[in-house]
Amino acid sequence: MSNLIQSLFSRIRFREAGTLLGLILIGAVFAWQSETFLTAPNIINILQQSAINACIALGMTLVIISGGIDLSVGPVAALSAVLGAAMLVAGVPVPLTILGALGVGVACGFVNGALITWGGLQPFIVTLGGLSLYRALALIYTGGTPIFGLPDEFRALTNGAWMGVPNPVIAVGILALLVWVILTKTPLGEYFMAVGGNPEAARIAGVPVTLTKLAAYMISGLMAAVAAMILIGRLGAAEPTLGTLWELDAIAAAAIGGASLMGGRGSIIGTLIGAIILGTLRNGLTLMNVQAFYQLLATGIIIIVAMLIDKLTSGKQG
């Protein structure tokens, strides 16, 4: 374990250090402006509020590294949320429900991946279609109305805490560690990088390009379903409209963290910090009573500044 942590820190590279520095700077400004900002409950608040976006962004980062994009994550989350909630309300045991809901996410990811690899279609268009398709299925299945009355047994999973840290934060932390291990310690991780960096070269070098891309979209679907379970546990209800614009927040987190939309580059640690930066901005600006329109402005500026720094530090490639 200590070896793992050691290598985790030794792997924090220049770009990630830059993202972290950005987070610290933003935090310092808020700490100076608001005395509530640096209190323990507020820090936990930020982590809790960032957890869902971070979870989606983990899957998104793998898809982006492999040279794709997944615009359908919000509706996939909505579909697995309403199907999971329906199972819970019908009395299906909690572990079975969670497996089923995660299965829905993986299946949606498989459909996306299959159309992209075997169908030879562009990721942007396929997942744009998925964005409407999965949302429509969720709306049709529920008739547009939320499903209420999730059992307390299920809600206890997401509303509990361990040593003061909310369970969703711990769950996303563990998932991040897993994805980080996959990306940096396994052949699959090298495949993601290779397929995104130069698909032709990867194919010639014997990388299973099709399976690698499929894996990226299936993991993304899985992460969307995990986020859905966390959210419906917290809300105590599943709404077919949940997850609107999640794809954009997740892409923003990955981009702030150093992922290149051209593929071949990206970092799990960077993405996590990116998600926390977005959560911190929202939290700090609300504490300072800054109106929503200006919060949007601040988010836009941060993303563009991150990209400019990226460009300046990474030399000529872009």
């Binding site: 509530t36 209190t39 409950p41 507020n42 608040n45 809790q48 509020q49 869902i52 976006n53 709306l139 529920t142 008739g143 547009g144 109305t145 939320p146 209420f148 307390d152 959210l231 917290r234 809300l235 105590g236 209800a237 599943a238 709404e239 077919p240 409209t241 949940l242 609107t244 614009l245 959560g279 929202r282 939290n283 609300t286 504490l287 009573n289 109106q291 929503a292 329109f293 919060q295 949007l296």
Partner: protein
Amino acid sequence: MQHFLKGALAASVFALSLGMSQAQDLAPLNSDSEPDRMDWSELEAKFGPLPAPPAGTKVGGVSKTLTNEYWRSLGEGYQNVATALGIEFVYQAAQSEGDQLGQLSIAENLISQGFNALLFSPQSDANLIPAVEAATAAGIPVLNVNDAVIPSATHYVGNVQKGNGVNVANWFIANRPDGGKVAVIEGQPGVYAAGQRTAGFTETINAPGNFEVVASVPANWSREEAFNAAATILQQHPDLIGFYANNDGMALGVVEAVKAAGKQDQVAVFGTDGVSDAYAAVRAGDLTGTVDSFPVLTGEIAMEVALRLMAGQDLPRVVATPQALITKDNVETYATTDMAALRAALMAQ
């Protein structure tokens, strides 16, 4: 759901719920039919003048989005009372109407800042539930103000949504005694307000037996979709005598379709909400009428209810806010920005 309240079932439901948390002891709220309710106009008569808030009182408001005039006006009403009584008031809203998690974050961040009461207008029935639970645990009173209804809300201030449709149906019954064909342009399917407004209109207008609702289609609050739907309906039923739209934006779309078909004199068009565009259209004679739910006044009443609750008054679970049918005959009476005059006019109604 309200049927649970009556009969022998209530006892077993109560027994089952004993083990659950406090919020769940209440039956899921249906703001239109909840029996524990009162009208805003009775507040002063039943509970006396507004108690003065203690110095240093802080109240927070979270609403859907400031791109919609309705929520800006509601905030203006909150602020009016806050300014008059010298209390600190913070008003925040999400970036857009779809931003459910963003609104939840805002609400949670306000709870951590030590407010004495919170006024929530949630995006959906469920998205603010964790914030309500956290506020309740911290002993902060929470008011659900209008539109989406949080099932576990202990206090709700807002419009009787069904009444909007009933008001319009009654106009047709009084002014078109011969009856005829009418159509409804609905809001987004599954949204509580849209369903209740449509139900109120349809049930009331079907009662006399000489009206027929020939079409009732959703246009998702969109002016453009309403225009298209109305044009199609007019083609199919050239003898139509009226439209009821679930909001003003859609009603103004319908007005354009009616004009394009050259049927202004035959077809009466009604909207809901009373936005400023609708008032202008009523004055111009384009829109026959709208049901105004007076957002600024609603904001004032909600803030007053919050202050009464903080003073320990035992108010009913639902306080219904005013609404009135605005037509060319009374448009100037209700167009006033003087809230005291508006209150007097509504009290005299």
